[in-house]
Every structure is written in structure tokens, then in C-alpha cells.
């Protein structure tokens, strides 16, 4: 079965509509969303309602959690005072805009979704806030997938799509018997291939251009296609300004930059 996986919509309606249109014209009917439906962007209600209307299974992203749990479940992830101030402003604006029904919907989203050996998360199986970057230490990446009991882990959060196969992994253990004090026995256990697929971002791309990204995965063949979809960027930028959000948000989106920088620590996990 071929299915589509998207992430990090960030209240960007024009981008979501373009991605859904692309998926529809490919005839794909199974879609999974990896969270961050809201945050920074100008149309939080419209985006949540479209996801609900299309009955797209979604897990909860860090922004979805923050809106429900209150400011700010992960302020330690901001790398600068400027990023923190902008993040707080966007958080407050989004919380004020969201309808109660949509907040209840975001609160109901699960941390993870599982379909057989496929696992869907926002950041990592450990936390919505952890970044699984493409150059993350191979063992740490393998540990995340293996511990979660998955063959393939779908994640988002970094806003940069990638596919990473974890091959040739092995665990070497040394066993010292409590009764036999001769040399400890050493065993090496090969690990099967594991895979991490990052879906990029629909609403706040930062992979080098302004196109929305998502992925198509074929469960039978294992093939993955990273799709790039142009959308009406000007419409979203205009909506940002009309909503009273900082105009610099529109500029950053139009340049393919994130609204506020992420922390550089790839293994960062909020210790709230």
C-alpha cells in the first residue's frame, strides 16, 4: 500500500491545501500527519478544521502540546532571547485564536501512531521535542527506532526531509558469570536494518527553498519519495500581516527560513 506522511503544518492553509491536492491527484487515500498543526502561521483554526474534516490520523506535535499545556513546555529549546520572544508571541496569538473545539481536538491527539511495524511520531519516540537530525549519531538513532519496536520510524520536527537507513548495526555484549570466573564470554548480535523517514514540513519549510514537503512510502517495496509542492506563498504572507503577526514572520517564510531558530543541540529533550 502506498501512503502519504506529512508533518509540521504550522497553520499554513495554502500550503496544506496544495499538499492535499497533490496527494489527491496521485490517488493516495491513506494519509498520516505527524503533528504541529498550529504555531507561528496565520490560520490555526482553518488548518485544524481541514485535518478534522479529512479525518487524517495525526499525532501530537510540540506546538500542539504547548497550546494545550500552556506556555511554554519547551522554552529551553530557544537558542536566543529573540527566538524566545517571538515564540511566546506566536504562542499567545495562536492560543487566543484557537476555538475550544479545536483545542479539545489537539488535546486528544496521541503521542504516537503505530501501523504494524511502522511508527509515526512528531520528534522522536522519546519526546515531541527531540530532534532526530540526519547526522545524528548512528547508534543513538538506531536506539530510538529499536527501542520503539519499529522497523520504520516516521518523524518530522526538523523541517528537513530525509531518509536514513541504519545498516550494519550490532551490539557486542560481554557476559561474566558469577560462578565461572574464567574469561567473560563475548557475543556480538547483528541488528536488522532500521529506517528513519523525516517528512519535512508542509507549512514552514527550511530545506533550502519555500516549497512544502511531504513523503510517499510504499509499504510493499519500501520505496520512499520526498515530494516538493509549490504553493501560494504570497497568500500566506499576506495573511500573516493581516492577522497582526510580526511582518518579519512573512519575510522569514518567504526566504525559506524558520520563524524562530531551533536549538542547535540535536539531542535536546525538554526537562520540564
Amino acid at each position: 500500500m502506498t501512503h502519504a506522511v506529512m508533518s509540521c503544518l504550522h497553520a499554513n492553509l495554502a500550503a496544506l491545501e496544495a499538499v492535499l491536492a497533490d496527494i489527491d491527484q496521485l490517488g493516495i487515500t491513506t494519509i498520516t500527519c505527524l503533528g504541529d498543526l498550529v504555531g507561528y502561521g496565520p490560520q490555526p483554526n482553518e488548518v485544524v478544521e481541514l485535518v478534522r474534516e479529512r479525518a487524517i490520523p495525526s499525532c501530537q506535535g510540540c506546538w500542539d502540546e504547548d497550546i494545550i499545556e500552556g506556555l511554554n513546555s519547551c522554552e529551553c529549546s530557544y537558542p536566543s532571547q529573540l527566538a524566545e520572544r517571538r515564540g511566546h508571541l506566536a504562542h499567545q496569538w495562536t492560543a487566543d485564536q484557537l476555538s475550544e473545539a479545536n483545542k479539545v481536538f489537539l488535546a486528544s491527539l496521541p503521542m504516537t501512531l503505530r501501523r504494524d511495524r511502522l511508527l509515526f511520531v512528531h520528534g522522536s519516540p522519546n519526546s515531541q521535542h527531540e530532534y532526530l537530525l540526519p547526522d545524528m549519531d548512528a547508534f543513538a538513532a538506531l536506539e530510538r527506532v529499536e527501542t520503539a519496536g519499529a522497523d520504520t520510524l516516521f518523524c518530522g520536527h526538523t523541517h528537513r526531509p530525509y531518509v536514513r537507513d541504519l545498516r550494519d548495526g550490532s551490539i557486542r555484549v560481554r557476559i561474566q558469570s558469577s560462578t565461572d570466573h574464567t574469561s567473560p564470554a563475548e557475543r556480538q548480535m547483528p541488528l536488522p536494518v532500521r529506517r528513519i523517514i523525516n517528512a519535512g514540513s508542509v507549512g514552514e519549510p527550511r530545506h533550502g527553498n519555500t516549497n512544502a514537503t511531504y513523503v510517499i512510502h510504499d509499504e510493499e517495496t519500501g520505496s520512499v519519495e520526498i515530494r516538493e509542492v509549490p504553493y501560494d506563498l504570497e497568500r500566506t504572507c499576506q495573511a500573516i500581516v493581516e492577522a497582526g503577526l510580526p511582518p518579519v514572520f512573512a519575510w522569514r517564510l518567504s526566504q525559506g527560513f524558520e520563524y524562530a531558530e531551533r536549538a542547535d543541540d540535536a539531542s535536546h529533550v525538554c526537562e520540564r
Binding site: 537558542p79 536566543s80 532571547q81 529573540l82 527566538a83 520572544r85 517571538r86 510580526p246 511582518p247 518579519v248 519575510w251 522569514r252 526566504q255 531558530e261
Partner: protein
């Protein structure tokens, strides 16, 4: 016997850099004066808020500031090199001292200065060839940042946004910024050059409160979003509490390695 040079040219052509190099290379006493331009010559665009003088004072030891009346009116020491900087867009009408704009004469007289040479960027070969921009059609905006201290990571983001067009079409930006550890930095960027110049000042203030040194931001360009710049500035500057939090850690004594027993 001293030497008094008047250096003119458009903003951004490299006057201050050249002047700094000449002053640093001179073995005797040195003096500097910056005169403003004229309204029909884009005086507003040339305004620098005192940044050039402050950078030169930092870079050149014992530099006499001729804007200070005590220095201007005092007897000139032997072998004094006095350099006078003037923003000027149009090439002079004549070569040498005869080409000095007559409107400058009262200011020069007031400082007891009689230039024995006049060099203009874009005209005289003694000066380096520079890409000069026509700033007369540009807006100019500046902000007094004295007493402010920046969150360093926020400063990096702000400067990136500023010179990449987030707040309008910026053609030139230069500034003196303070950091929590007491360092001051000169930032300089021009649209015609690749990359920004980031140079630390040699004078470092103790990490105790807000430095008293001059701090300014000057921007020239088109359709400048000054309101947006000011909003971002307020999000980047440290409050007293945040500054004290950062400086308290810097004031802790550095642990010394214990002597081997």
C-alpha cells in the same frame, strides 16, 4: 612641521578605513576630525552618530580628538598628522586644497585647521579605488543604543535579517554594539561587498552593568521598516535582570589548577 589632510568621498567608499590605516602607520602624534556634510549633499544619509570617531579612538592610541575644543585650540605638537573626514558626493571642482568646498572654511577656521592637501575618493589616485554608491536617494535611519547590551545570539539573528532585507532594502548598515562580557563590536556592511565586517574594539569594559561607551546603529536604504527594526531591537536587548544573570557568571573567579602533590 605637521601635516593636515582633508579626505572626502561618499559614505561607504572607505574613508574611515583608509584614515585609520594612515593614523596607525604614523610615528608621531595624530589627530582626527569628522565634519558633517551639507543638506544638498545628502547630510542625512552620511550621518554616522559618532561611530567612526569612536572606532578610531579605540584603534589609534592617544588620538587627539579635534572636535574637543581643548585639543582643537591647543598648540599643535611637532610632526602632527591631522586627518579631516568629510562626506561629499560630488567630485571637487578643482584639484588640491583649492577644491575644498568653501562652505567648510568656517568650520576649519573654528578648529584652527588649514589643510595642506585635499584627497577625494574616486578622483585621486593616492586613495584606493572603491565601489561608491549614490546615497543621495536613500533614506537614513539611526538609533541611539547607548547603555544597551545585546543577547549575543539575538544580535546574530537581527544582523542577518537586517542585511538580508527583512526591514527594507538596506544598502549600508554600520553599528557599535555592546555584549554582556564587556566587549564592544564594530559591525559594518555594504550591499556592494560580500559579507559583513565584525571587529571587536580593543577596549573591554568590566562585566559589571552597562558600558558607558558610545553605541549606535545607522542604516541607509529604501523603504526602511524602522518600526520593525525597533520591535526586534527591543526583543534582543537584555534587561537589567538578564544582564546581571549573565555577568554574575563571568565575575566568578576562574578555578586554578591545584599544584601537584
Amino acid at each position: 612641521m605637521g601635516h593636515t589632510l582633508l579626505i572626502s568621498g561618499p559614505p561607504g567608499c572607505g574613508k574611515t578605513t583608509w584614515i585609520c590605516q594612515r593614523l596607525q602607520a604614523h610615528r608621531g602624534p595624530r589627530a582626527y576630525l569628522r565634519l558633517g556634510g551639507f543638506g544638498d549633499e545628502g547630510q542625512q544619509q552620511a550621518r554616522d552618530g559618532g561611530i567612526d570617531a569612536a572606532v578610531l579612538q579605540d584603534r589609534v592610541d592617544n588620538l587627539l580628538d579635534l572636535a574637543n575644543p581643548d585639543h582643537a585650540l591647543a598648540p599643535r605638537p611637532d610632526n602632527l598628522l591631522a586627518l579631516i573626514e568629510v562626506p561629499q558626493f560630488q567630485p571637487p571642482s578643482a584639484s588640491g586644497p583649492d577644491g575644498i568646498d568653501r562652505r567648510l572654511i568656517p568650520a576649519l577656521d573654528a578648529h584652527h585647521l588649514v589643510p595642506d592637501a585635499h584627497l577625494h575618493f574616486g578622483r585621486d589616485r593616492e586613495l584606493p579605488a572603491q565601489d561608491t554608491l549614490d546615497f543621495r536617494r536613500l533614506e537614513s535611519w539611526w538609533h541611539n543604543l547607548s547603555g544597551t547590551v545585546w543577547d549575543p545570539a539575538s544580535l546574530s539573528s537581527f544582523w542577518f535579517e537586517l542585511v538580508n532585507g527583512a526591514y527594507g532594502d538596506v544598502y549600508r548598515a554600520k553599528a557599535l554594539f555592546n555584549l554582556p562580557d564587556g566587549r564592544g563590536f564594530f559591525f559594518n556592511w555594504m550591499v556592494s561587498q560580500s559579507g559583513s565586517q565584525f571587529e571587536p574594539l580593543t577596549a573591554v569594559a568590566p562585566p559589571q552593568g552597562r558600558p558607558a561607551r558610545l553605541s549606535r546603529l545607522v542604516v541607509q536604504g529604501k523603504a526602511l521598516a524602522s518600526g520593525g527594526i525597533e520591535t526586534t531591537l527591543s526583543d534582543c536587548l537584555l534587561s537589567d535582570a538578564a544582564l546581571e544573570l549573565q555577568q554574575a557568571a563571568l565575575r566568578l573567579p576562574v578555578p586554578q589548577p591545584s599544584a601537584a602533590s
